[in-house]
Each structure stands twice: as structure tokens, then as C-alpha cells.
């Protein structure tokens, strides 16, 4: 049992050591940190083997909160779903830790960086291992905290600190839904333990309604939608995706680990974990699918025109997360998690490779100031190309398998499915286009670099390129664990089958499946060719189009002005303006006005009273007499 607890605890010890003694350890802190995650990886492999051999671990360690009928334990479970997540998290975390040794070399916050990264790994492992909603929520908010700290890692930059706060607060909006969802789960099921809740998730329960502001809503539907609000925050879906592009202010390894491979997939993981609940509500499933599809397309359109190399990949991440939700929403839970897994490898690779580009160019991130790099940084170019092919979904790269499994399930999901399939395919075309726009702008054409920058271009050291090559290897090969068409060859789906309710999603028409596969590869290839023509062959085309359709172009470049809208409505309006008004009027005028008014009134009254104390005995005697007359008069009146 100890070895399972050590999976999260080793990174936590690494955090404590690097955090408390970083001042003395300096860059040796990295050794401690890598040791922590590597140890976690070793134990995760061991746990994975145990699960593969049929051991499901579900263990409570101690009672955390016990009040009345509320009983929450600190407990972990490792089932097939968690086992997959453990492998993804610990493996990528280890590689990215190693890469960071090179990337962060010489930074004055070196040990602090590794301490945060370790803390993040710890919370991420708690998130995937928790055996009840509240422990999952500990990890959930904990990774949010680390994300906040790492986005704002270079806190002297205002934009970085702003982005950190934005990420945390936007996620809190999502957590508002998560917390309410948990309360409704507790009042409905009387427990927050996954096993007990899912055991009670029956179709009879799905038929129960509750009254929500006069509208009858299925109780399960409401629970799922509230949880999904949480998922849209963490996994950057519409309408809460706005924090993720800004999160690119953090160091690039952070973008790779937290904002591509692991943390942002937490929402996908959570919905998959709650599959027994979601599969009871068609409404909730449709909301998940539509949100995913719309986000996938929406983010892809923005990605088409961005000039910052990391922002392109960031929008692509939002878009790919949309595909995962699209898969979950049509009941293809294992396809969604499969895409999560392949995406972790190729998107982690893309971010790290872009980090290598930025490193080579002394910090330059604007693709308009790049070009022709393919001969200068060959390894980076090679792995970038592999990552982009995987992202574009070209056979036999990893993304091909997982994306096609999702699209095939969507295609078979009824009439709504067909429309969503079209949306997904359009998104896939754009994905191929913008990924290769990036490749061509960065590595092809003429150099547009500043002279000083060009002079210093260098390939990254092995400590960075070796992790890149390992990830590139997996971006090519990992897809084969989810082979389509051949019976029982989808090892990934077979492995996960026990966790997910069986929902009919794959069609049986293999001819059609092959046809659609070829079609979608052709669509992607068209995108790649088009990007080649526009950005290598005749580079005037994009400018001309931008001029001709300047309205659309500006709208996309400005990301539909959603940030401005949110800022105007929520940050300026709903928060700062309203707070100012409330303060000036509410507290200063009304409440304190009343208090000071009463005080003044009493003051004035006593001022008048004081005037009566004239010191003339005659006046006192007169008033006394007057009082006597009034009292006697009153006596008779009352009598």
C-alpha cells in the first residue's frame, strides 16, 4: 500500500526540499525535483502493472471531515482510468522536469521554479487519485494554485502577474459550479465517494426532477451541468477559456506540462470519471458535445491568424480539448481519454519544441521575426514537424488514431452527430492549416530575424533535446495502442472498458469507416498544402486576403474581442465600478451617514437641552409650574 501513497508523496517531498532549502541547493534543487517525479513514475508503472493484472486499489487513509451525516475520507483509488492518467502525468512530468534543467538554467528563481513544478505534480496526482469528489477537488484547486504561481513566475512583469490572477479567478468561476454540484450530489446521494455515488446512479434516479426557479430539471442533469461548469473552467472551454492564452506568460515548460499535457485535461478526466452520471442525462451529454465542438472550431479560427508561436499552440490546445469533450459528449469516453493521452505527448512536444525555438532566438516569440530556421536548429525542426503531423492527424502519427476514433463515434451519434462531425472536420482542416502555417513561418522562407538574434541562433543542449526526441518517438508510435478496425486491437479501449458504461458509439460499417478516415486525412493534407502555398510559395496571398477581408481578419486577430467584452462587463463593470459605487453610496453615505446623522441629532438635541439650563431660578420655577399643569390636565383627560 505504501508504494501507492508514495506516488503523490515523493513529488511533495521534492517540493518541501526544493522550497525550503532552495537557497542553499541552488541548481542542485533540480536533482531533488527530478528524483521526486522519477520515483513517482516508477511507482506509477508498478501501480499500472497491478491494475493491468486486475487489482483495483481503493483505500481510505483517514477520516478528513466528519460532521453528522457528512463523512469524507482522505482516500485514493487507482482503477484503469486513474492508471492511465498516472502514466501520462508522471511520465510527462519527468521529461519536462529534465528539459527544464536546461531551459531554466541561470534563472534567479531556479529552485523556486522546481519547487512549484513538484507541488503541481503532487496536486495533479491527488486530483487523479482521489476516491471522492472532495479529495479530487483538493487536487483540482491545488493545480489551479500552482498554475497561478507558475504563470506569474516572472512576477516582476505585470502581464505575467495579471495572467496568473486571471487564470485563478476564471477557474474559481468554474469551481463555483463544481462546488454547487458537489452539494447537490451530497444532498441527493448522501455521500461524496465515487463508488457509492455511482452505485446509486440508476435510470430511476435520472427520472427524478427538481424545481429550479420554476423549471422542472432532472436532478442528474443539473448535477452534471454544474460539474461541467467546473470542467469548462479547468479545461478552457467556452465560455471560460479566456485564461489559457494569457497563461502563456509562464515559462514554456509550464505551458507544456500544465497548460497542454496535464492540468487542462483535468476537466476531461472529471467528466470521464463521472461517466456513470453523465451517461444518464442526454441533455448534459449534448451540452458537453456541443460545447466541445463549438470550442474546437472557435479556437481553431483564432489560431489561424495569431503571430505569437506559443499563442497558436495555446489556441490549438483549447481546440483539441474541445475534441476531447466532443468525444465524451457522444459517449465515446475511452476515445476522449485516448485523445487526451496522445495529445499530452504531441502537444507537450510542440510546446517544448517551441521553447527550444524561443531559447534559440534569445526569447523571441513573434513568428514574423523568424523564418528559415530548419537548417540552423535541425533537431528542433525535426521534432516540431513530427508534433505538427501528429496534431494535424496524418497517418500514422498519434493524433490520427485518436482524432479519427472521436470523429467516427461522432459520425455515428444520430442526427446531431452528423452536424457535429461536420464541425469537427472543419476544425481538423483548420488545425492542419495553422499547424503548418506555424512550421512554414518558423522554419521555412527567408530569415526575418533581427541581426543580433540571428547571430546567436543555436541548437539547445542535450538535456533539452533528448526529452524532445523521446516525446517525438511517442508522438509517432503511441497511436498504435488504439488501433481501429481490427477486432480487439484497440488495446486502449479494452483496458478502459471496465470503467465506462457501455454506450453504443462505433458503427460497424468498416468500409465507411475507412472511407471517412481517408477523407479526413485528405482534408488535413489539403490544409497543409494550402499553408505551403500561402506561406512558402506565394507569401503575398495572406496579406492580400487580410486586406480584402480586413473585418474578419481583425476580428480573428483580436480573438473576437471576448477579452475586451469580459473586461468591460465583469472586471470593470461588475467588480470595480460597482464596488466603487457601493462603497461611496452604501457605506459612506447611507450606513455611516445614518450613524453620524444620529450622533449629530443627539448632539443638536443636547445642545438645545443645554440652553434650557440658564441658571435663572424664575425660569425653572415657571417650567416646573407649567409641567405640573400639563400633568394634572393629562390625569383628568386620561381618567
Amino acid at each position: 500500500m505504501l508504494k501507492y501513497i508514495l506516488i503523490p508523496l515523493l513529488p511533495f517531498f521534492g517540493f518541501l526540499i526544493a522550497g525550503l532549502f532552495g537557497k542553499y541547493l541552488k541548481e542542485r534543487a533540480a536533482t531533488v525535483a527530478v528524483g521526486g517525479v522519477l520515483g513517482a513514475f516508477v511507482f506509477a508503472v508498478s501501480a499500472f502493472i497491478d491494475v493491468a493484472n486486475g487489482t483495483i486499489i481503493d483505500e481510505n487513509f483517514y477520516s478528513w471531515i466528519l460532521i453528522g451525516n457528512l463523512s469524507v475520507n482522505v482516500g485514493f483509488q487507482i482503477d484503469q482510468l486513474t492508471a492511465v492518467m498516472l502514466m501520462v502525468v508522471t511520465f510527462l512530468s519527468t521529461l519536462i522536469h529534465i528539459y527544464s534543467i536546461g531551459y531554466m538554467h541561470g534563472d534567479k528563481g531556479f529552485s523556486r521554479f522546481f519547487a512549484y513544478l513538484e507541488l503541481f505534480t503532487f496536486f495533479m496526482l491527488v486530483l487523479v487519485m482521489g476516491n471522492n469528489f472532495l479529495v479530487m477537488f483538493v487536487g483540482w484547486e491545488g493545480v489551479g494554485l500552482c498554475s497561478y504561481l507558475l504563470i506569474g513566475f516572472w512576477y516582476e512583469k505585470k502581464s505575467a502577474a495579471d495572467a496568473g490572477v486571471k487564470a485563478f479567478v476564471t477557474n474559481r468561476v468554474g469551481d463555483f459550479g463544481f462546488v454547487l454540484g458537489m452539494m447537490l450530489i451530497f444532498t441527493t446521494f448522501g455521500t461524496l465517494d465515487f463508488t457509492d455515488v455511482f452505485a446509486q446512479a440508476t435510470p430511476q434516479l435520472a427520472a427524478q426532477n427538481i424545481d429550479l426557479l420554476g423549471i422542472e430539471v432532472g436532478i442528474v442533469t443539473l448535477i452534471c451541468l454544474l460539474l461541467f461548469v467546473g470542467a469548462t473552467g479547468k479545461s478552457a472551454q467556452i465560455p471560460l477559456y479566456v485564461w489559457l492564452p494569457d497563461a502563456m506568460e509562464g515559462p514554456t515548460p509550464v505551458s507544456a506540462l500544465i497548460h497542454a499535457a496535464t492540468m487542462v485535461t483535468a476537466g476531461v478526466f472529471m467528466v470521464a470519471r463521472c461517466a456513470p452520471l453523465f451517461s444518464l442525462s442526454h441533455t448534459a451529454m449534448n451540452v458537453v458535445a456541443v460545447t466541445g465542438a463549438v470550442t474546437a472550431l472557435f479556437a481553431a479560427t483564432i489560431g489561424l491568424v495569431q503571430n505569437d508561436i506559443k499563442r497558436v499552440i495555446a489556441y490549438s490546445t483549447i481546440s483539441q480539448l474541445g475534441y476531447m469533450f466532443l468525444g465524451l459528449g457522444v459517449g465515446a469516453f475511452s476515445a476522449g481519454i485516448f485523445h487526451l493521452t496522445t495529445h499530452a505527448f504531441f502537444k507537450g512536444l510542440l510546446f517544448l519544441a517551441s521553447g527550444s525555438v524561443i531559447h534559440a532566438l534569445s526569447g523571441e516569440q513573434d513568428m514574423r521575426k523568424m523564418g528559415s530556421l530548419r537548417r540552423k536548429i535541425k533537431i528542433t525542426y525535426a521534432v516540431f514537424l513530427i508534433g505538427s503531423l501528429a496534431l494535424a492527424g496524418i497517418f500514422p502519427f498519434a493524433g490520427f488514431f485518436s482524432k479519427d476514433e472521436i470523429l467516427w463515434s461522432v459520425y455515428n451519434a444520430g442526427s446531431l452527430g452528423r452536424s457535429l462531425w461536420m464541425v469537427g472536420l472543419t476544425g481538423a482542416f483548420m488545425t492542419a492549416f495553422y499547424s503548418f502555417r506555424l512550421i512554414y513561418l518558423t522554419f521555412f522562407g527567408k530569415s526575418r530575424m533581427d541581426h543580433d538574434v540571428e547571430h546567436h541562433v543555436h541548437e539547445s543542449p542535450p538535456v533539452m533535446t533528448v526529452p524532445l526526441m523521446i516525446l517525438a518517438f511517442f508522438s509517432i508510435t503511441i497511436g498504435f495502442i488504439g488501433m481501429p478496425l481490427i477486432p480487439h486491437a484497440n488495446l486502449f479501449a479494452n483496458f478502459l472498458a471496465p470503467v465506462f458504461p457501455h454506450v453504443q458509439h462505433g458503427g460497424t460499417d468498416h468500409g465507411l469507416e475507412i472511407g471517412l478516415m481517408i477523407f479526413s486525412v485528405l482534408v488535413a493534407a489539403t490544409g497543409i498544402v494550402m499553408a505551403y502555398v500561402w506561406y512558402v510559395r506565394d507569401t503575398r496571398i495572406p496579406d492580400k486576403l487580410a486586406e480584402k477581408f480586413s473585418g474578419v481578419y481583425t476580428l480573428l486577430l483580436n480573438k473576437y474581442r471576448v477579452d475586451e467584452l469580459y473586461n468591460y462587463l465583469f472586471v470593470d463593470g461588475l467588480v470595480h465600478k460597482l464596488a466603487g459605487v457601493l462603497h461611496r453610496i452604501g457605506d459612506v453615505k447611507i450606513v455611516d451617514g445614518a450613524v453620524n446623522g444620529v450622533a449629530r441629532l443627539i448632539g443638536q438635541a443636547s445642545e438645545r437641552g443645554r440652553k434650557m439650563q440658564t441658571g435663572f431660578v424664575q425660569e425653572y420655577a415657571f417650567i416646573m409650574g407649567l409641567g405640573l399643569v400639563v400633568l394634572i390636565g393629562m390625569y383628568y383627560v386620561v381618567k
Binding site: 471531515i65 460532521i67 453528522g68 512576477y155 516582476e156 505585470k158 502577474a161 479567478v169 468561476v173 462546488v179
Partner: protein
């Protein structure tokens, strides 16, 4: 029915806890040297912590009765007794009072240079009064302590406070006094109505009529609502905090404002249950308003201390929300949140004090970028900020979550609106942290800022231990509360059901 279990320790523990600080104050009268005064006050306050060890160690959490009881006749003709004891509702506050007093003395070590001896006398006198409030089981005795506490606090603000200290001190005094006077009238009414007894345990079982309850509850409410402070009786708090010295702020936020909520649990609910149930919707509404309104006010502040003061209004809204949900999660969550708020807000005021002592400014705009200069301080402030915004793993989360769960079961809409307060809380606290710690140093005075010294770290450390200790193992606190809160909830429900007329009236008000 609750009983007073006589103290079996062989020495009068609770009396000692009241009189040890008083003895310290008396000894200080004879001391001239400022340095000696500091050490004597510190030793006496540590002795008080030492006394709370056997208290917490020997407390039996499995029973609801009053423990460590002492009862002596005092003024026989009026049936006034010196009667003290603690149960699961009060015992933790005694410990918290002892801890925060010591911390207050430690943070005043160099900050107070003027009339050190008098300052320390006031602090110890205040400590005796606060302990007395939590242990008194005779209404008359309680009122003595309640009022006695006011004087040293008034002096702390009025003598050792900031430039606008007189306005703040008088405002604090008048606000509390108005509430207290109404409570005094109600205490006398209760005394005569119950046939001449001040015995709290006996009064709990006295069947007051519903109309009487409604009035008496309102009068007690005046005193307690001002103390909490509940919206709209809160405007004294920001002024008092801003002007008070650090020690005053820590005690005010940590202990004094808890007494309002404690009063609800100890007197209002058990004495006047059917009135309490009738008033509940109104109080829940005020609580939710306080949560949101306090958070909004915090956004508008430019003064570090004022921001924290308004965040207190918001956090105390959670406390009253939980208490009046009147179910076990709500009440225990509310109690825990009172402890939590004492810890994290005490720690926040400590943080303000540390930086104010170096820079002599509380304006948020005068900081910025200090994380690079004072890393230990920045880490400390970050942890406390996270505790304040209720990050899971810290104490704040457990309190807020259980309160919300309690409120959700009472009526979901209260929990839904209150949950918005969690978003706002993250907003104003992180924005505060950003403005203080992040960015580049803009104020040249901060270029050579000194980090926290050993004394300050020693003062802060127990609070950090509590932040994580309570966050990871809140059951240690809940176990102490279970029996007493369960008993309280049953008592309120049973007693309210006793008077059918009262229940009808209550239901009519509730609109059921």
C-alpha cells in the same frame, strides 16, 4: 438538559485562566522599566497558554455538559453566582484567546515604544475579560466581563492608535455600547420573567412566551450583531481596525468579533428558539448580503487594513450563515470558521503590522514588487492569503465548505449566492497580493526592506501550523464540538416545538 460538571482537576483551572492575566496586570503596576514590562507580560501570557493545555487535554468531547465547572455564591439577594464552565462551543475559544494574546504581545515588542507598561496592562486585562466572556455561565457575570472588555480595547485604539484614533475609538465604543445597553435591558427582562435567576443553564430550559422571545431575541441581537459585525452594523469595524495598533487589530479580529457569533450560540438560540426560527430567514439574508457586500467593499479599498477589515465582514457573514442554518454541518462549520477567521485574519493583521513597522504606510499603492526584497515575508503572506480564500488543504476551505453545505440543506438559494462570495474573495485577495508583492519595486523606500526577523517568524509560526493542521485534520476540532452542537440543535428544535403557538407564528413568518 445541560449540567455543570464540577471541575475535577484539583485546582480551579478556569478561575486561574481569568485571574492569571489579571495578576500579571497588577504586577505590571509596580514595574517601571519598559523592557521588564514586555517580558513580564509575555511570561504571563505564555503561562495562560500553559493553562490551556490541561484544559484542552482533559476536555471530554463526548458529552455536551459544561465542564471544569466552578460555582460560588456572589450576591445572594439577587441570586447572582460566580458560575463558570466550558463546553464544546466555548472551549476552543479559550485556547485561541490565550494564543492570540501572546502573539499580540510579541508583535508589539518594538512597535509599541510609548507607555509600554500601560499597553501591556491593557492587553492582559483584555485577555482576562475575554476568557471571562467565554466561560461565564451566569448572565450577570457575563455582562460584567462583556463590558469590562470594552474599556481596554477602547484604550488600545484611543491611546496607541493611528492619527484618527479618537474618532475610531469613540465610534467603536458607542456602537458596542448601544447594543450592550439593549442587551442589558433584555437580560433584566429575562431575569424577572424567569422568576429571578441569572443561571444560564436554567434559563436555557425556561419556557419563554413567543412574543417575549421575539423582543428579547431582538435586544440580544442588537448587541451581538454589532459585535460580529453583521451588515448593516459593520461600519465601526474598518475604522477601528485602521486606527488600532497591530495587537489591537489581531485581538479585535481574532477574538472580539467572535463574541457576537458566540452569543448567538450560547444565549440567543437556546433561550429563544422559536424567536430564533422566526428571525432566521432575515438573518440568513443579512448574512448573504454581508458576504457579497463585504467582498465588494474590499475591492474598493486602497488601505491594506481596511481591505482586510471588509473581508472580515464577508467572512463573518459565512459564520452567521452557518450558525442559523441550524444543522450540524452549518453550526460546526460556523464554529470552525470562527476559529479559522481568528487564525487567518490574525495572521493577516500580523503581516500588515510587520510591513507597517518598516514602512509606516498602510496604503497598498506604496508597496509593489516586495516579493523580490523580502521572500520570507512574501511566502508567509501568500500562505495566509490562500487560507483566507479557502484553498483546499488550508483551514479556510473546510469551514466554508461545511457552512455552504449546511446552508444548502437549509435553503439552496442562500448557498448559491454565498458561493459567489468565494469567487469575489479570490479576486480581491489575489489582487491585493499582486499589488503588494508582485511587479517591480516602485517605491524607493522599499529598496532596502528587511525581511521578517526571528521574533516575527516565531509569532507567525503557530498560526501557520494551525492553517495546515486544521485544513488537513479538522476532525480534531469537530470532535470537540459534536456533542455540544448536536445537543444545541436538538434543544432548539425540541423547545421550539414545545410552544405550538410559537411554531405557528414562526411558520407564518417563514411563509410555509
Amino acid at each position: 438538559m445541560l449540567e455543570l460538571i464540577p471541575n475535577q482537576l484539583g485546582f480551579p483551572l478556569l478561575s486561574l485562566m481569568i485571574f492569571v492575566p489579571l495578576a500579571g496586570a497588577v504586577i505590571l503596576l509596580a514595574v517601571r522599566d519598559a523592557r521588564a514590562a514586555r517580558w513580564i507580560a509575555l511570561l504571563f501570557s505564555i503561562a495562560e497558554i500553559g493553562l490551556s493545555v490541561p484544559l484542552l487535554a482533559n476536555f471530554d468531547g463526548s458529552i455536551a455538559h459544561m465542564q471544569f465547572g466552578e460555582s460560588l455564591p456572589w450576591i445572594k439577594d439577587w441570586h447572582i453566582n460566580y458560575r463558570i464552565g466550558v463546553d464544546g462551543i466555548s472551549v476552543l475559544f479559550v485556547g485561541l484567546t490565550a494564543l492570540l494574546t501572546t502573539i499580540s504581545i510579541m508583535v508589539s515588542w518594538t512597535a509599541i515604544q510609548d507607555r509600554v507598561r500601560e499597553f501591556m496592562i491593557a492587553v492582559l486585562f483584555l485577555e482576562a475579560g475575554m476568557i471571562g466572556v467565554f466561560v461565564a455561565l451566569d448572565l450577570f457575570l457575563f455582562y460584567i466581563f462583556w463590558e469590562a472588555m470594552l474599556i481596554p480595547m477602547y484604550l488600545l485604539i484611543g491611546v496607541w492608535g493611528g492619527p484618527n484614533r479618537l474618532y475610531a475609538a469613540i465610534k467603536f465604543f458607542l456602537y458596542t455600547l448601544v447594543g450592550s445597553v439593549l442587551m442589558l435591558v433584555a437580560i433584566l427582562a429575562v431575569y424577572f420573567s424567569a422568576g429571578g435567576t441569572f443561571d444560564v443553564l436554567a434559563l436555557m430550559n425556561h419556557p419563554f412566551g413567543h412574543t417575549f422571545q421575539m423582543w428579547a431575541f431582538a435586544a440580544f441581537f442588537a448587541a451581538f450583531a454589532v459585535k460580529v459585525p453583521m451588515f448593516p452594523f459593520h461600519t465601526w469595524l474598518p475604522d477601528a481596525h485602521v486606527e488600532a495598533p497591530t495587537a489591537g487589530s489581531i485581538i479585535l479580529a481574532g477574538i472580539l468579533i467572535k463574541m457576537g457569533a458566540y452569543g448567538f450560540l450560547r444565549f440567543s438560540l437556546p433561550f429563544f428558539p422559536s424567536a430564533a426560527i422566526s428571525w432566521t430567514p432575515a438573518i440568513m439574508t443579512l448574512s448573504v448580503v454581508a458576504i457579497i457586500y463585504g467582498a465588494y467593499m474590499a475591492f474598493a479599498q486602497t488601505d491594506f487594513k481596511k481591505l482586510i477589515a471588509y473581508s472580515s465582514v464577508s467572512h463573518m457573514g459565512f459564520v452567521t450563515l452557518g450558525i442559523f442554518a441550524l444543522n450540524s454541518q452549518g453550526v460546526e462549520g460556523g464554529l470552525l470558521q470562527m476559529i479559522n477567521h481568528g487564525v487567518s485574519t490574525g495572521a493577516l493583521f500580523l503581516a500588515v503590522g510587520v510591513i507597517y513597522e518598516r514602512t509606516h504606510t498602510r496604503m497598498i499603492a506604496d508597496y509593489g514588487g516586495i516579493a523580490a526584497k523580502v521572500p520570507v515575508y512574501a511566502a508567509y503572506l501568500l500562505i495566509i492569503t490562500l487560507s483566507s480564500i479557502g484553498l483546499p488543504g488550508t483551514n479556510g476551505f473546510v469551514g466554508e465548505f461545511t457552512i455552504l453545505l449546511g446552508a444548502f440543506q437549509y435553503k439552496a438559494v442562500y448557498a448559491v449566492i454565498a458561493s459567489l462570495g468565494i469567487i469575489l474573495g479570490a479576486g480581491y485577495m489575489l489582487w491585493l497580493y499582486q499589488r503588494v508583492a508582485f511587479g517591480t519595486v516602485t517605491n524607493p523606500h522599499n529598496e532596502h526592506l528587511q525581511d521578517m526577523n526571528l521574533r516575527e517568524i516565531a509569532a507567525a509560526l503557530p498560526l501557520l501550523v494551525l492553517v495546515f493542521g486544521v485544513g488537513l485534520y479538522p476532525n480534531a476540532a469537530f470532535q470537540v464540538m459534536h456533542a455540544s452542537t448536536e445537543n444545541l440543535i436538538k434543544h432548539v428544535q425540541a423547545k421550539a416545538a414545545l410552544a405550538p403557538v410559537a411554531a405557528q407564528a414562526a411558520n407564518a413568518l417563514l411563509g410555509q
